[in-house]
């Protein structure tokens, strides 16, 4: 057998194995300790400092996004320490890298709680990282502050969710389209838990509100060719698109959308994963005039936000932008501080007891914790991407929307959970 014939045998096999390995990344089984014995807390509160943990991915595919969250957490900690700390104690940060792997998140969370003895942990981004950490925080009875909008249908007494749940982002997004008289909506998303769940909710909403869903397409993560999906979109007769694509796929989708001659004034796309941070990478040209649904934009015109943006730029450079998850992370540290000060204790049970009604004048406006489901009341904002790459509010819910992660207050959602 010649070398190259041997090659011909070995190579197809190794390439296929590699292909499967690559596409399987991120699909690892969730793990976490399932023991239920809550160990006595080892948090030290007698000194003049208290430890807290920051757990974000600083390596791997999620590092792009999570680094920005870490930056704003660091900023908040620095501000709080400069202003005298929490209950007179300086914050001592124990920083860990979640490495974009749910299993690593679970391991590091356990390490932060049991060997570093932190009073609370701030971080996580993907739903799979949160789901992997949840059993750890419940079994060790500690606290996690999770700063990203997510698919809802979850509520743990050991997690505070400071990003939007579905009724504060997706439902208002659909409300807006309905208000604009759109009747035929096309759904496009990445093929994983958040878009699938979000689209289930949108389908239920559409059915109850006389909107027709004319197409529902999912692209595998890292999908790079959207010609077929955009062809389907064009053929569907849709008058609006609801986009739950994640990461790089957005770039390929919007370039294709633009190249075939579609435009936001006739066929607007509402996106829930594109914030200020992502606009530059997609190219302002390609998304100008498109819509987003969030609870915070850098352009919010309030003194609190002006101070936040200014402080952030002073710390990290004038070319940096602030986005919704960054703001939610920033607010999460202050919310924890306010809860601790209300409870006058760092103890988990005391904080849980004091949580209800604790509020913070965040850059997005005043946010208030709901003690029952541990989410926070937030104002929903629909924004339009401007030629400057920033997002400008075009519609607001006017007042904070009470969080409703299980959508119990919506009749049309009865069949969902």
């Amino acid at each position: 057998m010649t070398a190259s014939r041997r090659l011909a045998r070995v190579l197809p096999a190794s390439v296929l194995i590699l292909a499967l390995g690559l596409s399987g990344c991120g699909a690892k089984a969730e793990s976490g300790s399932t023991t239920t014995s809550a160990a006595a807390s080892c948090v030290k509160t007698d000194g003049d400092a208290v430890k807290i943990g920051f757990l974000n991915s600083l390596s791997g595919t999620m590092a792009i996004s999570e680094q920005t969250v870490r930056d704003s957490l660091d900023l908040a900690a620095k501000e709080i320490n400069a202003a005298g700390g929490v209950l007179g104690k300086q914050l001592e940060i124990v920083a860990e890298d979640g490495a974009s792997e749910p299993t690593v998140f679970a391991e590091k969370a356990e390490k932060l709680i049991t060997s570093d003895c932190v009073a609370a942990v701030f971080g996580g981004w993907t739903s799979s990282s949160r789901k992997a950490m949840l059993p750890v925080f419940e079994s060790k009875n500690s606290l996690l502050f999770y700063p990203v909008q997510y698919e809802g249908l979850e509520s743990s007494k050991n997690i505070f969710y400071t990003g939007a749940t579905t009724n504060q982002q997706i439902v208002p997004g659909m409300d807006y389209l309905k208000e604009q008289g759109k009747t035929k909506v096309f759904l496009v998303g990445s093929d994983y838990v958040f878009p699938q769940t979000a689209n289930k909710i949108i389908n239920a909403y559409a059915e109850a509100n006389g909107i027709e869903i004319v197409g529902e397409e999912y692209a595998p993560m890292g999908h790079t060719d959207f010609s077929t999906i955009v062809n389907k979109l064009k053929a569907s007769g849709a008058d609006a698109v609801f986009n739950t694509l994640n990461g790089d796929s957005n770039v390929a989708f919007f370039k294709e959308y633009k190249n075939v001659g579609l435009a936001p004034d006739t066929l607007p796309v509402v996106s829930v994963s594109i914030a200020e941070e992502e606009v530059g990478g997609i190219g302002v040209d390609n998304v100008e005039g498109q819509l987003t649904a969030w609870n915070y934009y850098q352009t919010i015109d309030t003194p609190v936000n002006a101070t936040f943006v200014e402080a952030f730029k002073a710390e990290y450079g004038a070319d940096r932008v602030t986005s919704d998850p960054m703001e939610a992370a920033y607010a999460s540290l202050y919310l924890w501080k306010n809860m601790v000060e209300k409870a006058e204790s760092f103890d988990v049970a005391d904080i849980q007891g004091a949580a209800d009604g604790v509020s913070f004048d965040a850059p997005e406006g005043t946010v208030t914790i709901n003690g029952d489901n541990h989410h926070i009341a937030k104002t929903a904002l629909i924004g339009e991407i401007g030629p400057d790459g920033l997002i400008h509010t075009v519609w607001s819910s006017g007042e904070p929307i009470e969080p409703d992660p299980f959508l119990t207050g919506y009749e049309w959602a009865a069949g969902l959970s």
């Binding site: 045998r9 190579l11 197809p12 390439v15 077929t228 999906i229 790089d248 390929a252 370039k255």
Partner: protein, 294 residues
């Protein structure tokens, strides 16, 4: 009818992207037997070259055309360096090469992250590539036409080089029988280096072209490397012709299945089809006849 036409075009267009990504690989992997996992990162180098060029030349059209040339040189040089430092030590050790180049790929990705930052960057398309043209009632994006034309041009030039030039003759001689070529006085070392230079340069040209379609970030290469290998494996090791047929066949297959099902299912079915095909024909579509004693 319109659906068939538009999907046929989508398939051709996808095929041309695959072909561009795979062409350089067909040369290095197909002709030299080097499993170069860093091939995707040479595409990355091309994409970032386009980004840098755009910072230098204000006119997007000028910078795009220059990027194709400069990108070829940048990618080729990177490839040459890789060949001279690492790969030439490991001919006939395909699995070791796979590991080494995989490591190089990770290093290059991180280098891109350190130099250009982790977030994606944007390369503006020139005005004359924006929008769509009407062909037989079909709105065809200009960027896609450009990429099809570029893919055809690359194939034609490469085929001519292989067929008509002394270098091409040497490359073909080395592919057919390395020892005999060496015995006939061909410097296989120099030939290998040049082949690798051209192959890596072609990857960078693909990278420049892809800035018109997709995202430009440190992970760009990993998005295409698997597809590129599939094209070469299906096409058959050692022949450019095979890669061309395979790229368009896979493109059209993917587009057709995707239209009637979903993108995920289409990907799975294409994989299944490839596995089945390789069971029946492990040597790929077109195989080169070896003249060896073994």
């Amino acid at each position: 009818m319109e659906v068939i036409m538009s999907q046929l075009f989508a398939g051709l267009s996808l095929g041309s992207v695959l072909l561009l990504a795979a062409l350089g690989l067909a040369l290095t992997f197909g002709q030299m037997g080097v499993i170069n996992m860093a091939h995707g990162e040479f595409m990355l180098a091309g994409a970032y070259t386009a980004y840098v060029m755009q910072g230098i030349f204000a006119d997007a059209g000028v910078s795009l055309m220059l990027s194709l040339v400069v990108g070829f040189l940048v990618g080729g040089t990177l490839g040459l360096l890789l060949e001279m430092t690492l790969i030439h030590r490991m001919y006939d050790r395909p699995l070791d090469t796979l590991l080494v180049t995989w490591g190089v790929a990770l290093v290059l990705q991180q280098a891109a992250r350190n130099i250009f930052g982790a977030p994606n960057v944007d390369v503006r398309a020139p005005e004359w590539l924006k929008g769509a043209v009407d062909i037989l009632g079909l709105a065809v994006p200009r960027t896609r036409l450009f990429i099809i034309a570029l893919a055809i041009a690359c194939v034609v030039v490469l085929a001519l080089v292989l067929k008509l030039t002394p270098l091409g003759r040497r490359i073909r001689a080395v592919v057919q029988n390395r020892s005999l070529a060496e015995a006939s006085g061909i410097s296989t070392k120099a030939t290998d280096r040049l082949t690798f230079f051209i192959g890596s340069g072609l990857a960078s040209i693909a990278g420049v072209a892809l800035t018109l379609l997709g995202s430009i970030g440190p992970t760009l290469g990993t998005n295409y490397i698997v597809d590129a290998f599939l094209v070469v494996v299906v096409g058959g090791i050692g022949q450019i012709k095979g890669a061309v047929i395979a790229a368009f066949a896979l493109g059209i297959l993917q587009a057709t299945i995707e239209y009637s099902t979903t993108a995920s299912i289409a990907k799975v079915l294409v994989f299944v089809a490839i596995v089945a095909f390789l069971q029946a024909r492990p040597q790929g579509l077109v195989s080169v006849r070896q003249r060896g004693i073994a």
